[in-house]
């Protein structure tokens, strides 16, 4: 899909706790937005590819998050599962502009177009 992303502001970096995460509900799904110890901000769909665990509830360490349900570890940078596990958590575009976190939503997520 080559649709243009719809950028939304969700506030300053400080709204997200360090080594923690918060969630953003969209029209179609929930996004987990993480802040690491070195203040990098990343976003993934809040759904572990294994059993749909809420990744935003996991422990954030380095640039990784551990799923709270079965301890699978995912890279926040790529969404890929680490170690012996297979799978990939869906990555969501995310930037920090002048200290404000922006998330790039698809048209479906933004509610601008409806599926089917």
């Amino acid at each position: 899909m080559t649709d243009m992303l719809n950028w939304v502001n969700i506030g300053p970096v400080s709204t997200i706790p360090q080594q923690g995460a918060r969630t953003l509900q969209t029209e179609t799904d929930r996004i987990a937005i993480f802040r690491t110890l070195d203040d990098q901000v990343y976003a993934l769909l809040d759904r572990c590819p294994h059993k749909q665990g809420p990744l935003a509830q996991g422990i954030v360490h380095g640039h990784f998050v551990t799923c709270p349900l079965h301890n699978m570890v995912f890279s926040l940078e790529t969404g890929e599962a680490q170690g012996p596990d297979d799978g990939c958590a869906a990555k969501v575009e995310c930037q920090v502009v002048d200290g404000t976190v922006r998330i790039g939503l698809t048209e479906l997520q933004a509610g601008l177009r409806h599926a089917g």
Partner: protein
């Protein structure tokens, strides 16, 4: 006076050993391994304890080891080998005419052969004030105890002497919380082992750790009226001090020998098989002078012990020919190595390598193409290799271009550590502390069928002391056994660290580390901020070590403990309000019913621990649910935590016609005392009012079963995959005792178990006897444990639900973000 009559002379040769230290006992061990039945052995020691590893006093001071860990030979060892040990009873006289020794207690013991291992005395500079209270040397366990006593009060300390021992004392005292100044007479620290460059790097590192180093400091006087208050330097400076450690060197102790008319110069004069001027009297260790040399390091005395034992056992020997020594500083995180003569000049050439970024300095001194000396700072991994090349007198001309880069570069195949260790010659020293070479380890592995590091430690003592050669020994095991070797010794907490749970816990206390970043920095964590395995463990260890002081780190807790509810498979939560002892009432039940209606909670279930579980609560509803439950007087049931979960009770004497004790009220009381405390794992209790045990107290972590006369206290049970029934801890009679034993047991578990270890595997690991010794037999310790538990409970009993429902704690957890369109 006791007298051992001469007419009951045993068939064995009677050997008396004066000195229960490392040299004496090492010689005895060597004798036993050569001729186990030849001697009837008697040992006199001045210290009132078994034989321990004196070079481990530094880790004992810093708290990295405890006394049991530095014991070389236990009391059982002496018994098993039929050695008569007189500890705390020094010999005061040798009567060579009658061939007997007399000890302070008056015991007179005859000998056929006598072994002197009297060691050395710390030098005390006779400046004014050297006899004040608070002036100590650093020589034995009593000195360490004195230093620890002073360190407990904090305050300033001065160490006179910036040599090996002085610096280890300084670092130990500093890690115990004292403000330490090192006074050193020479221009740089450890000048006998280090050149000025390495000395400078070392002093800088010490300063970085908060230790003040003053060089060219000439002490004029120690000041104080009764207790020391400071040290006065000749240049007029005054350094305040509550404790002064004198570590300026040692002097061989040859007094007894000299009094008996044996030849003594600087030390007791011996030949190559350690015989003194009296052919029936031998001497080993720091007390001797051999070929004009006295030694203050451990490696030479091991070599002396071997030669002496060979001679006594009448085995052909080349004798002792003197030692080439190397030095390592035993300070965690500082790598310093030196060997040989590195003074340079004359016909010598030098290779110097510096990497300021990594703080690495290497200097190798060559003469005639051979290594004459080496000083390494920051990276000492090749120390053993240089030392070996030096001892062997190997021509290193060919290696010269890459010599500074170490063995991995020079040896070609040595890039692989297994090949490197396989390439070492049999006489290469592996364990410097215990003087064990590669050949003895390999033959022990092959002949005795050793397969683990612990077995190698047990049989050869290699890596049993400072532990810095553990890697080498493991590589040797792997190289010798091939595919049969499985390294499984220290199990690190996770891949972020080399440390296991126990050493991290010990170091947190010993180094006074109070935050997670500090632990990760000091203990050289390999990741920036740990992982989901180590962070919750460290958070717990810090909470347990510094109660009422450490601030809980929410981001290092599993989600359940962070939001005080149990996450379910669909991402909703379950909520379990506390029902003290399993008791409830209509008001609470109504409130629970109302909450379930109001928040459309789909499932309401009774749990195994006599509570009501509300399942399927949405995360954002949690604060609302808690507020309503709080309003009805209910608090968190901690069904989500590594903490006190539930106290299950039967109806007991209150209602039951068989009941012998009030189990309900006892359950309520214990739950009110213990709720809110964080533990290594979940902790469940139960109280049964009679031996019919309806509350199933014998599968709980702590269970009470009432008897006619009181209570049976059971510990270490659990349900689950591996059902485990409890073991009986003890019987008590009063309710007051129940409270004290309960609190003490929980505290012992909190302090000693590893994170995520329940009481059953913990007790299996340490043994019920250990638990009983600590808290049943030892009343004072039980009371101390109980007191520590109650102190830690002071701020623990705050309802986490109320904090979040009405005080706004962690509000971000429960509110999703909202969005505005970007420009």
């Amino acid at each position: 006076m006791n007298h051992v009559p001469a007419n009951i002379k045993s068939a064995k040769t009677r050997i008396v050993v004066i000195g229960n230290g490392m040299a004496g006992m090492r010689t005895v061990e060597e004798i036993l391994s050569r001729a186990p039945d030849k001697y009837d052995i008697t040992v006199f020691g001045a210290e009132p304890r078994v034989n321990y590893n004196r070079i481990m006093l530094s880790p004992l001071l810093s708290g990295e080891k405890d006394f049991d860990e530095i014991v070389i030979n236990t009391a059982e060892w002496y018994t098993e080998n039929n050695i008569h040990l007189y500890s705390g009873d020094p010999v005061i006289m040798i009567d060579r005419d009658r061939k007997c020794v007399i000890s302070r207690s008056g015991t007179k013991t005859e000998y056929d052969q006598l072994l002197l291992a009297t060691g050395s005395d710390p030098i005390i500079i006779p400046i004014p004030g050297h006899k004040l209270d608070g002036v100590v040397t650093f020589r034995d366990v009593d000195d360490v105890d004195t230093m620890l006593g002073a360190a407990a009060k904090g305050g300033p300390a001065v160490v006179i002497g910036g040599g090996l021992l002085g610096l280890e004392a300084a670092v130990g005292l500093q890690s115990r919380g004292m403000d330490v100044t090192v006074l050193h007479l020479a221009g740089h620290v450890m000048e006998r082992q280090l050149d000025p460059s390495a000395g400078y790097l070392l002093a800088q590192e010490l300063e970085r750790r908060g230790i003040t180093v003053i060089t060219e400091a000439d002490t004029a006087e120690i000041v104080g009226s009764e207790n020391v208050t400071g040290v006065h330097l000749k240049d007029g400076r005054m350094i305040p001090a509550d404790l002064v450690v004198m570590a300026v060197g040692i002097r061989p102790n040859g007094r007894l020998a000299a009094d008996a008319g044996i030849a003594v110069e600087r030390g007791i004069v011996v030949d190559d098989v350690m015989t003194t001027s009296d052919p029936d009297i031998f001497a080993v260790g720091e007390c001797v002078q051999h070929r004009g040399q006295c030694y203050g390091l451990v490696a030479p005395l091991f070599e002396m012990a071997k030669s002496c034992a060979d001679h006594l056992a009448e085995i052909e020997t080349d004798g002792y020919t003197g030692s080439v020594t190397s030095t390592k500083l035993k300070v965690t995180g500082v790598d310093v190595f030196s060997a040989g003569d590195f003074s340079g000049g004359g016909e010598t050439e030098e290779i110097v390598f510096r990497d300021a970024g990594r703080g690495v300095y290497k200097r190798i001194v060559l003469e005639d193409g051979k290594i004459k000396g080496a000083v390494l700072y920051g990276d000492t991994s090749d120390g053993a290799w240089y030392f070996q090349l030096m001892k062997d007198g190997e021509d290193v001309t060919e290696l010269r271009d890459t010599l500074a880069f170490g063995q991995a570069f020079a040896g070609g195949s040595a890039g692989n550590p297994l090949d490197a260790v396989a390439a070492l010659p049999d006489d290469a020293e592996i364990c410097g502390c215990n003087g064990v070479c590669k050949g003895s380890i390999v033959s022990a592995i092959n002949e005795k069928g050793l397969t683990t590091l612990d077995e190698v430690k047990g049989h050869t003592k290699a890596s049993a002391s400072c532990g810095s050669c553990v890697g080498l020994v493991e590589n040797l095991l792997a190289a010798t056994l091939g595919g049969d070797y499985q390294a499984a010794t220290v199990k690190p907490i996770c891949t972020c660290t080399e440390h296991d749970h126990d050493s991290v816990r010990r170091l947190i206390i010993a180094k006074g580390m109070k935050s997670m970043p500090e632990i990760m920095q000091e203990l050289e964590w390999k990741s920036a901020d740990g992982c989901h395995v180590c962070r919750p463990a460290l958070n717990y260890y810090l909470l347990a070590a510094w109660p009422n002081e450490y601030v809980d780190h929410g981001a290092s807790r599993f989600i359940n403990e962070r939001v005080h509810a149990n996450i379910q498979k669909d991402g909703t939560y379950s909520v379990v309000p506390r029902m003290w002892g399993g008791l409830t009432n209509p008001r609470e039940l109504r409130a629970i019913a109302d909450v379930a209606d109001k928040f459309e909670i789909p499932t309401v279930k009774v749990t195994g621990g006599q509570r009501i579980d509300l399942l399927g609560v949405k995360k954002e509803d949690l604060p609302g649910v808690w507020a309503d439950l709080n309003a009805a007087g209910m608090v968190s049931g901690h069904a989500y935590g590594k903490s006190l979960r539930t106290v299950k009770t039967c109806v007991g004497q209150e209602w039951c016609r068989f009941g012998t004790q009030m189990s309900m009220s006892m359950g309520v009381e214990l739950e009110k005392m213990t709720w809110g405390s964080w533990m290594p794992h979940k902790f469940k209790m139960a109280v049964s009012g009679c031996p019919r045990n309806c509350a199933e107290a014998t599968i709980k972590d702590f269970g009470l079963v009432a008897t006619d006369g009181g209570w049976d206290l059971h510990v270490g049970g659990n349900g689950g995959i591996h059902v485990k029934a409890t073991e009986l801890l003890c019987k008590v009679t009063t309710d007051e005792e129940v409270r004290e034993y309960c609190g003490a047991f929980i505290q012992l578990y909190r302090e000693e178990a590893r994170y995520l270890e329940r009481t059953a595997p913990w007790i299996e690991r340490v043994g019920l006897k250990h638990v009983q010794e600590r808290m049943v037999d030892d009343e004072a310790n039980r009371k101390a444990l109980f007191e520590r538990f109650m102190i830690s409970q002071k701020n623990a009993q705050k309802d986490p639900w109320a904090e979040r429902a009405s005080e706004g704690v962690d509000a971000h957890e429960f509110k999703p973000l909202s969005m505005v369109a970007a420009e």
